[in-house]
């Protein structure tokens, strides 16, 4: 995390990324917690609810992580290919990376939210 004495650019760099992942994390926490509580209320089995909701969170987290690294690995190439082929698309590597980071945070949030509610139940 950025410290008080850090140069402003680094602090800004970390803050932007933390906000991006953090917003996803908060939404994920809510979704995970509510999903776990709702599923348990519906099925009456906390253990199987935890398994299902946690696994869904891991799935979202995994896809987010794959998408994020995939965007970094191949994003510029895809942009160049689109430009080369003359296709009109608004897809950019930056947008994809940001969206995937948010998805990653969301998946992580679901996992954490589910675990917290599972402990409380």
């Amino acid at each position: 995390m950025a410290q008080r004495g850090d140069p402003p650019r680094l602090r800004q760099y970390v803050a932007v990324r933390a906000r991006l992942v953090g917003s996803g994390l908060v939404v994920g926490l809510l979704l995970g917690g509510l999903g776990m509580a709702g599923w348990t209320f519906y099925t009456g089995d906390a253990q199987s609810s935890e398994a299902t909701v946690f696994a869904l969170g891991a799935l979202v987290f995994g896809f987010g992580l794959l998408g994020w690294s995939g965007s970094i690995l191949a994003g510029r190439g895809i942009e160049a290919m689109q430009e080369h082929m003359g296709t009109r698309s608004n897809w950019t590597e930056r947008d994809s990376r940001r969206a995937m980071a948010r998805l990653c945070g969301g998946g992580g949030g679901i996992m954490v939210g589910t675990s917290i509610v599972a402990v409380l139940l």
């Binding site: 299902t52 799935l59 995994g62 690294s69 690995l73 998946g107 996992m111």
Partner: protein, 360 residues
């Protein structure tokens, strides 16, 4: 100079080590992501590993004991972290069913060379046939050769492995009796587990054609090549077709460039211009296809091995899914992911060697 410095010195003229390190570091989140997805899918899939191990007739106490032993009663987050830690060490425990009692690592090390051999032959066939066919097709555009190559490529891309495999078996094995239907070597031939190099005993690779060469056993080599021919053709056809199509279109674009015309105007021979200036530039998009193609070949190996009854990673993964042998599924899927990402790293390096602008 230590070995790391030596390695950097070695690759520096080809590609900057920083570029390779950056790419290598990106492999970590990729594998981490794949591991998470595998964990999620296996936990969402129906089936109880305890019942698979103990059988349907096991008592409730026995099942509970197995669940505790496997760690399935621990909190999910603990199971998830433990799974990631095991995946990082490539330790997936023991197989429940398809190779009961053996570690997943040993199952993979036994079967990976079989699939790799198949994929390498398929890829080699694709490159060795696809590149020249694509170049000839581009140079002789709209000639009979070009039309035949294009139709052949289109057919090769359109025909799926699960259809072409049984059809080739029916033709060459059942009716013509030229090639065997399944297996890797004649059943009367047996290979030792080790080979000798300068008086030292070394283990064999598991790639049967290479092993027979190392052993100097010509009869076994011919038998292995004979058995491998049809599966390699099936897996190589798609690769050849795709590479030749890509090479043709890429070459057509390059040979119309001004620098090719300038080279010809300065008196350079047609063949030299084509190979020296045209080929390298036309190769850039083809290299990407070859890298992605390797992943398709690994996927194709699942079908090819199932059709030809070859006990490699493909057949293992199919069988493991069928009997819910989760540790084997996890191990094989992660191995495929690791292989695919490593091949793509190799493609990136080749790519940046062919076009240094990419390193920027």
């Amino acid at each position: 100079m230590n070995w790391t410095q030596f390695l950097f010195r070695l690759v520096e003229p080809v590609v900057p080590p920083r570029f390779v390190i950056k790419r290598l570091l990106l492999l970590i989140p990729v594998l981490f992501g794949v591991a998470s997805v595998v964990f999620a899918i296996l936990h969402l899939a129906p089936g109880d590993p305890a019942i698979i191990i103990a059988g349907q007739r096991a008592s409730a106490e026995q099942l509970e004991q197995i669940r505790v032993e496997l760690g399935l009663r621990r909190p999910l987050w603990e199971q998830y972290l433990s799974f990631l830690w095991d995946a990082a060490r490539f330790d997936f425990g023991q197989s429940y069913s398809i190779s009961r009692g053996n570690s997943v690592r040993s199952v993979i090390s036994d079967r990976l060379p079989i699939t790799l051999e198949l994929a390498i032959y398929g890829q080699a066939a694709g490159i060795l046939l696809g590149l020249p066919l694509g170049i000839i097709s581009a140079v002789k555009q709209d000639s009979l050769t070009d039309h035949v190559t294009r139709i052949g490529a289109l057919t090769g891309i359109s025909v799926p492995i699960f259809w072409s495999g049984p059809l080739l078996i029916l033709l060459f094995s059942t009716y013509l009796d030229v090639f065997p239907t399944s297996g890797r070597i004649k059943s009367t031939l047996f290979l030792p587990d080790t080979w000798m190099l300068f008086g030292r005993e070394l283990p064999l690779t598991g790639m049967i054609t290479l092993d027979t060469i190392l052993l100097g056993n010509t009869e076994a080599f011919l038998s292995a090549a004979h058995h491998l021919f049809l599966p390699a053709v099936v897996i190589g056809v798609y690769s050849t077709a795709l590479i030749s199509r890509m090479m043709r279109s890429s070459m057509l674009e390059v040979i119309r460039q001004d620098y090719i015309r300038t080279a010809r105007a300065k008196g350079q021979g047609a063949k030299i211009t084509l190979m020296k200036h045209g080929f390298r530039n036309a190769l850039i998009p083809v290299v990407t296809v070859i890298g992605i193609q390797f992943g398709t070949l690994l996927g194709g190996a699942v079908l090819t091995e199932t059709v030809f009854g070859i006990n490699g990673m493909g057949l293992t993964i199919v069988n493991a899914i069928g009997v819910s042998d989760y540790p084997v599924v996890q191990g094989t899927v992660l191995t495929f992911a690791l292989l695919f990402t490593l091949v793509n790293l190799l493609v990136d390096v080749t790519y940046s060697y062919l076009d240094p602008r990419i390193q920027q």
